[in-house]
């Protein structure tokens, strides 16, 4: 099973909020209107949808392979 590492380019984020609705356990829109990461890594594949739906392409998800 893969673990996903999330990175948000906060300089790109425009606060559309789509990511936080798709992966609320991993991402949120802060009081400043910018998305932030709640957990650095997660095994929830919803973060992939969150990244692909971001209009500003501000979210990058890296698959971290776990050692057997």
């Amino acid at each position: 099973m893969s673990t996903f590492r999330i990175h948000i380019d906060r300089t790109l984020c425009s606060g559309f909020g789509s990511c936080a609705e798709l992966a609320p356990q991993a991402l949120e829109v802060g009081a400043d209107g910018i998305a932030g990461v709640l957990v650095g890594e997660t095994d929830d594949p919803a973060v992939l949808d969150a990244a692909s739906s971001c209009p500003m392409a501000a979210i990058t998800v890296e698959a971290v392979e776990e050692a057997a």
Partner: protein, 198 residues
């Protein structure tokens, strides 16, 4: 007697494309302005925005194909992509060709937004207002049905809705949010990236 099927199809497809384009723009304005708050899910509206644009492109393709197949006005396949080649009201049909090509550009730019840069993608998206203006003028000036009351109301409704949505956006959005600090950003991950261009 001339078969009017393709002529009618061309007119219907053109008007359908205009309606779909208008609805796509309105969905895009909802994504930006969030007038319904949490009652409407952002991912759903983003998908709807893109799907309506894709349907609109399909209707535009049908509009062009039907015009080529119809014999009322001689329009070559080349005239569908080269503005000004169509002999019928060349200036107004050229506007339609240009608008259609720009819609393709804006639609494709979403998938390429990582490559061209999100800021360029956003700048490109502003062209949509020009596209809508060009499509409206094209429909009014080149459309066979433009003098009919229902068609006039359709254009008035579309322009009014996009105008109202834009005014709402201008009044409520303000400047784009900016993070207070960049200190939380980490270097962009270069390898094994997921989540883009899927």
């Amino acid at each position: 007697m001339r078969d009017p099927t393709f002529w009618i199809l061309a007119r219907a497809a053109g008007l359908t494309a205009y309606v779909l384009l208008t609805l796509s723009i309105l969905a895009g304005l909802i994504v930006r302005s969030k007038p319904f708050g949490k009652a409407v899910r952002q991912p759903t509206v983003i998908d709807l925005h893109r799907f309506l644009a894709l349907l609109g492109l399909g209707a535009i393709s049908l509009h062009g194909l039907a015009l080529v197949l119809d014999s009322t006005v001689k329009i070559s396949p080349a005239a569908l992509v080269v503005p000004g080649l169509a002999p019928y009201r060349p200036l107004w049909t050229a506007l339609g060709v240009l608008a259609a090509e720009l819609i393709v550009l804006v639609y494709v730019s979403f998938a390429l937004r990582r490559r061209i840069g999100a800021r360029n993608w956003r700048r490109l998206h502003w062209i949509t207002y020009g596209i809508f203006t060009a499509a409206t003028i094209h429909g009014l000036a080149a459309g066979t049905d433009s003098s009919r009351a229902w068609a006039i109301w359709l254009y008035v409704g579309a322009v009014g809705a996009v105008g109202a949505g834009t005014a709402w956006r201008a009044l409520t959005s303000g400047p784009a949010p900016r993070p207070a600090s960049h200190s939380t950003t980490r270097p962009a991950i270069e390898t094994n990236q997921l989540g883009g261009n899927r």
